[in-house]
Each structure stands twice: as structure tokens, then as C-alpha cells.
């Protein structure tokens, strides 16, 4: 990421914070909240799925852990909301240790299946222990902000996205980022140069899960009420993965672009088709795999690079011909 890019990113960040001066309706702010939230979620997932190449389809586990942590620690133990939020993150980290410890030993599709299975177990446990989690009926979540709630939560989502973005940039420039990419490309090769693959993947997952849990808590807190089938469902996990894949896994901007495109498309689709908005996810997913495997950002970057290379060759050829 060049210096100029980072300046652009900072400007966008500031503009995002100023947006509520122009956009004031609750509905619009909630859509923007969703876009930024899923951008943050996509960035968080990207660390594990994009950079490390581990396709986790069970990130709803951490999303739900954050939300349920906030709800249950404050509701049942009377802890203040922000402390409960922190405790929720700790729960998510514990889940990540367990899930990662088991799943990262598995390769290929078995890893994916294990992540799905863990998230599903969490969902079913939440559904079937009403005394603890409120069961199917759900549980109340305290609000983290007062006053103009829509604006406050929007700002929180922007901050979270900025945090996730900064984390991604820092990682991609450090040795840790290179290690993740090595593991993605060929884990055996990574081992042969001394990379502790298991530990590296786990650290990436811990960071990813913490960010995801924060997002989950924000989501739960905005809507004030959560149920297992909403917070811990496969649909959430899929949406997070699709956001990153659509935009470009393994790129810094990808998940942000992906979220803008997916959430906007989803919103438009919802107004037309109401119930079947998942259809757009399926269609986009198929299109991405078949035609844009590097995602929007990845494909554009490759195109630009190729143009530059060919432009250079053409100019060179012209130079030779002119001689």
C-alpha cells in the first residue's frame, strides 16, 4: 500500500464520519451501517480466508458469540454493557482457540465442514438451552449508545471498519502477512522454511474472531433483540464469505468493495423479491467463481497490471521499429 493510497483511505474515513451531516434518515443510516459492518466482517474474514487461504464458513460462531456475550453477561450478570462486550470478545477468542485447534489440523473441504459444524453446534446449543440463552425466543441486548442511535451505530461501524482495515494493512506489510500467504500457497513449502503453520493460522483466526465478535455485538445492540437462527445461522457465515470473495479475497480493498456491491444489490433485490433475497447471493457467487475468481478488486488489479506490461512492450516495440 503506497503512501498515497493510505492518504486516500484516510480521506474516505473522514468523509464517512461526516456523512451523517448529509444523510439523516434512520433507514438510510441503517443501510449504511450494514454496508460498513459487513465491510468490517469481510475484512476480518479476509485475514483467514483470503490471506491464509482457509475457507471458514463458520464465522457466524464468533458473530453470535459477540452478540450473545453482550446480551448474556450484562443481562444475567448485571455487568455494564461495555464490559460485557469485552467479555463477549473473550468468549469468541476461546471459541476460536477450540475451533482453530481442531479444524486447522484438517485439510481442504474437511476444514470447511468442521467450521460449519462448529457454528451449527453453537446455534443448536443456543436454541436448546432456553434457561441460559433464551432459546428460540431469543434474548434482549442492551444498547451501547444513547441519543441518536442510528447515527451512533453508524459511526461505530465506520470505526470498526477502519480498525479492521488498519489491521489488514499492518499485517500485509509485516512478516506475519507473508507467512499467511505462504501457508495459502503451499503449506508444505511454508513448513520447509520454518513457518509454524498451525500457530500462524491460529493467530490469524484469533484476530479475525475478535473483530467479528465486535461486529456481532454492534449488530445485536442496534436491533436490541437476538435469536439463534438469525445470529448464528449459516446464512450469516455465507454472507461474510461472499462479501470477501466478491470483492477480492486476499486484497485490502476487496471486502469493502464487496460489501458495497453485495449489500446494495441485496437491498434492491429485497424490495423486489422480498423473501428470496438469498437468490442474489447464489447468483453472484456462481458468477464470481466462473468469471471473476479474483473478485472485483483482484480482477481489476490484474487488468491494470497487464495493461501496464503490454503498454510497456508496445512502446518498446515502437521504439525498435522507429530505429
Amino acid at each position: 500500500m503506497k503512501r498515497s493510497h493510505l492518504i486516500v483511505a484516510f480521506v474516505v474515513f473522514v468523509l464517512s464520519l461526516l456523512l451523517p451531516l448529509v444523510v439523516e434518515t434512520g433507514y438510510a443510516l441503517q443501510i449504511l451501517f450494514r454496508i460498513y459492518l459487513f465491510a468490517a466482517l469481510g475484512l476480518a474474514w479476509n485475514l483467514v480466508g483470503g490471506y491464509a487461504g482457509q475457507l471458514s464458513l463458520g464465522h457466524a460462531a464468533y458473530f453470535g458469540a459477540g452478540a450473545y456475550g453482550l446480551a448474556l453477561f450484562s443481562g444475567k450478570l448485571g455487568v455494564s454493557p461495555w464490559l460485557a462486550l469485552l467479555m463477549g470478545v473473550v468468549v469468541a477468542l476461546a471459541c476460536a482457540l477450540l475451533i482453530g485447534g481442531v479444524s486447522f489440523r484438517l485439510r481442504g473441504p474437511y476444514f470447511v465442514l468442521a467450521t460449519i459444524a462448529f457454528a451449527e453446534v453453537l446455534r443448536l446449543v443456543a436454541k436448546n438451552l432456553p434457561a441460559v440463552t433464551g432459546g428460540d425466543v431469543g434474548v434482549q441486548v442492551p444498547t451501547l449508545f444513547h441519543g441518536n442511535v442510528n447515527r451512533a451505530f453508524y459511526w461505530a461501524a465506520v470505526m470498526l471498519t477502519a480498525l479492521a482495515f488498519a489491521t489488514t494493512v499492518a499485517i500485509s506489510r509485516a512478516r506475519f502477512g507473508y507467512y499467511l500467504m505462504a501457508i495459502r500457497e503451499d503449506e508444505d513449502t511454508a513448513l520447509s522454511v520454518g513457518i509454524g503453520a498451525a500457530r500462524t493460522k491460529l493467530v490469524a483466526l484469533l484476530v479475525s474472531s475478535a473483530l467479528t465478535a465486535l461486529a456481532g455485538a454492534l449488530y445485536g445492540s442496534l436491533f436490541l433483540y437476538i435469536v439463534p437462527d438469525q445470529l448464528l445461522s449459516i446464512d450469516v457465515s455465507n454472507e461474510i464469505a461472499i462479501v470477501a470473495m466478491l470483492g477480492g479475497a486476499g486484497t485490502v480493498l476487496g471486502p469493502i468493495v464487496g460489501s458495497v456491491v453485495l449489500e446494495s444489490a441485496s437491498e434492491i433485490f429485497k424490495n423486489v423479491f422480498k423473501e428470496a433475497h438469498l437468490l442474489i447471493y447464489g447468483v453472484l457467487l456462481v458468477l464470481v467463481v466462473l468469471f471473476l475468481p479474483e473478485g472485483i478488486v483482484g480482477t481489476l488489479t490484474a487488468l491494470v497490471r497487464r495493461r501496464a506490461m503490454f503498454g510497456g512492450i508496445k512502446a518498446g516495440a515502437k521504439g525498435v521499429a522507429a530505429d
Binding site: L106, G282, V286, L290
Partner: protein, 291 residues
């Protein structure tokens, strides 16, 4: 401890398990033998269910005959999907395959949702009223017995296909060495397309057989995708027989779990077993290959 209740649960479990086995065997062929990670497997079962449902409501012919039509339809769909969508990404990673089939599943599920609506439906056939009695304590609902019988026949047929026919052998050859197979004169794409289509057809037929005894709704297939993978892992990769046995085991385990802990925990128990097997013996209970 009521022995008869437990016995009843085991028998019910075996009956359900036979249909699970059919779905699982289809995936064992697709994933185990062909290494195609099909996350849409349950969705195809659901399509088979809906196909049978539509035909039944129009014609009033028994689902126990219509399931064959569902099988044929799903064979065609499977073949088309293989050529149109799976073949182009042939060399690519598992990652991409998973995402592609996931997308296909989402399209199928929500497409059906758009067309048929989210309501749960149920059909009624005369056979539902009949029960067989074994002694004075055990009874089985007739449709389950019929579907069990048909499922067993289909399972045997699938096994024979994979083990004895040229195409089945070719599919296994490709799985063992995909570079040498074409050198032996095997038309890899055609064999894979047919094998894939047969695996999908098996799922579709299971759907048709399930129609009389299950609620039908668009998302019904989702749990079956996961259960199918559980069966394939439990049964050991590439083992059609293993997946079938695992299906029966799964049915019984779920049934007993429902009896003692309640329905809600059945699916959770499936996953816990799955995770235990993956962590402790990745080659599966009946398998010998490394995962």
C-alpha cells in the same frame, strides 16, 4: 428404561436411516470417488421432493412410482450442471468448487422459494394410514417400510454401478489417478458427468421417497447436505458401503437422541459425532484412507 420404546426408536431410526443412506451414497460417489465437493447435494434432494410433489398434485399417481421420474429429472439437471458449471472450473481448488456448489444450492433453494412460497406442505396418501405391527409393542408406519425397501434396492443398484460397471470402474480409476485415466482411453469428462448425474439422481429419488412422510419446504435440503457429509466422513472416503452404513447409524443415533433428549438435539449430536470423528479418526469409522 422401556426396552420397547428403545427398540421402536431403533427400528424407526433404521427406516429413516435407509433414506439418509441413499442421499449419503450419492454424495459418496460424488465427493468420495470424484472429489467434487458438492455443497448443493441437499438442495438437489429438495428439488427431487418438489418435482415429485408437483407431479403428485397434478396426476395423483403414487410417489412410490413418481420418484423414478424425479430421479430421471435430477439426472438431467445433474448432467447439465456438470457440463455448464463444474467442468469449466475443473482444475481449480476445492475452495472454488465449494463456493460454486454453495451458490448453486442457494439459487435452487431460493428459486423454489420464489416459485412455491415459503409454506410448509404435506401430502396425503392412503398408505399413511396403514401400520404394520410386530408383536404388541412395536409398530411401523407403512410408507416407511415401502421406502425402506425401495431405498435398499436402489442402494444395491448404486453399489453395483460403482463396483461392477465400466463407468463405475472408470470413475474410480479417475479418482485414483486423474492423469493416467485418460491415457487408458477413459473419457474423463463424460464419465464424471454421468457419475455426478447419478449421484444427484440418487439424492433426488431419496427426496421423492421422503415426500409422503416429511414436510416439504424450500430449506428442507439444507440439513441433508450437512448430514450427507457427515455420512461420507463417518463411512470413510470413497466407500459407498461405508456411507450407507453410516446413514443407518445416523438414523438410529438421531432416533435414540430424540427419544431420550428430545428432537432438538438430534442434529447437534450428528455434528458432535462428526467433529469427533474428524479430530480422532479422520479416515472414518469404516474407512482406511487418510482424509
Amino acid at each position: 428404561m422401556d426396552v420397547y420404546a428403545a427398540l421402536q426408536a431403533v427400528i424407526n431410526g433404521l427406516l429413516t436411516g435407509a433414506l439418509y443412506a441413499l442421499v449419503g451414497m450419492g454424495l459418496a460417489l460424488i465427493f468420495g470417488v470424484m472429489r467434487i465437493v458438492n455443497f448443493a447435494h441437499g438442495a438437489f434432494m429438495m428439488l427431487g421432493m418438489y418435482a415429485t410433489y408437483v407431479l403428485f398434485t397434478r396426476s395423483n399417481i403414487s410417489p412410490y412410482l413418481l420418484f423414478i421420474v424425479a430421479g430421471v429429472v435430477l439426472f438431467g439437471i445433474g448432467y447439465a450442471i456438470y457440463f455448464a458449471l463444474l467442468r469449466p472450473i475443473h482444475g481449480q481448488s476445492d475452495f472454488m468448487q465449494i463456493l460454486l456448489t454453495l451458490g448453486i444450492g442457494l439459487i435452487a433453494t431460493d428459486g423454489v422459494l420464489l416459485i412455491f412460497g415459503a409454506d410448509y406442505h404435506q401430502i396425503n396418501i392412503p398408505l399413511l394410514g396403514e401400520n404394520f405391527h410386530l408383536g404388541s409393542h412395536i409398530s411401523v408406519n407403512a410408507p416407511w417400510v415401502v421406502s425402506f425397501g425401495i431405498a435398499v434396492v436402489l442402494a444395491v443398484a448404486l453399489y453395483l454401478f460403482v463396483m461392477r460397471t465400466m463407468i463405475g470402474r472408470a470413475a474410480r480409476a479417475i479418482a485414483q489417478n486423474r492423469y493416467a485415466a485418460p491415457l487408458m482411453g477413459i473419457n474423463v469428462f463424460r464419465v464424471q458427468a454421468i457419475s455426478f448425474a447419478i449421484g444427484i439422481a440418487a439424492a433426488g429419488m431419496a427426496g421423492g421417497l421422503l415426500l409422503p412422510v416429511f414436510y416439504i419446504y424450500p430449506q428442507v435440503g439444507d440439513q441433508f447436505t450437512l448430514k450427507a457429509f457427515v455420512m461420507v466422513v463417518l463411512g470413510g472416503m470413497e466407500s459407498i458401503v461405508g456411507a450407507a452404513l453410516a446413514g443407518l447409524v445416523l438414523g438410529v443415533v438421531e432416533s435414540l437422541t430424540s427419544l431420550y433428549w428430545g428432537n432438538e438435539w438430534a442434529l447437534a449430536v450428528d455434528f458432535v459425532i462428526f467433529l469427533l470423528v474428524l479430530s480422532l479418526k479422520p479416515s472414518g469409522i469404516f474407512g482406511s484412507q487418510k482424509a
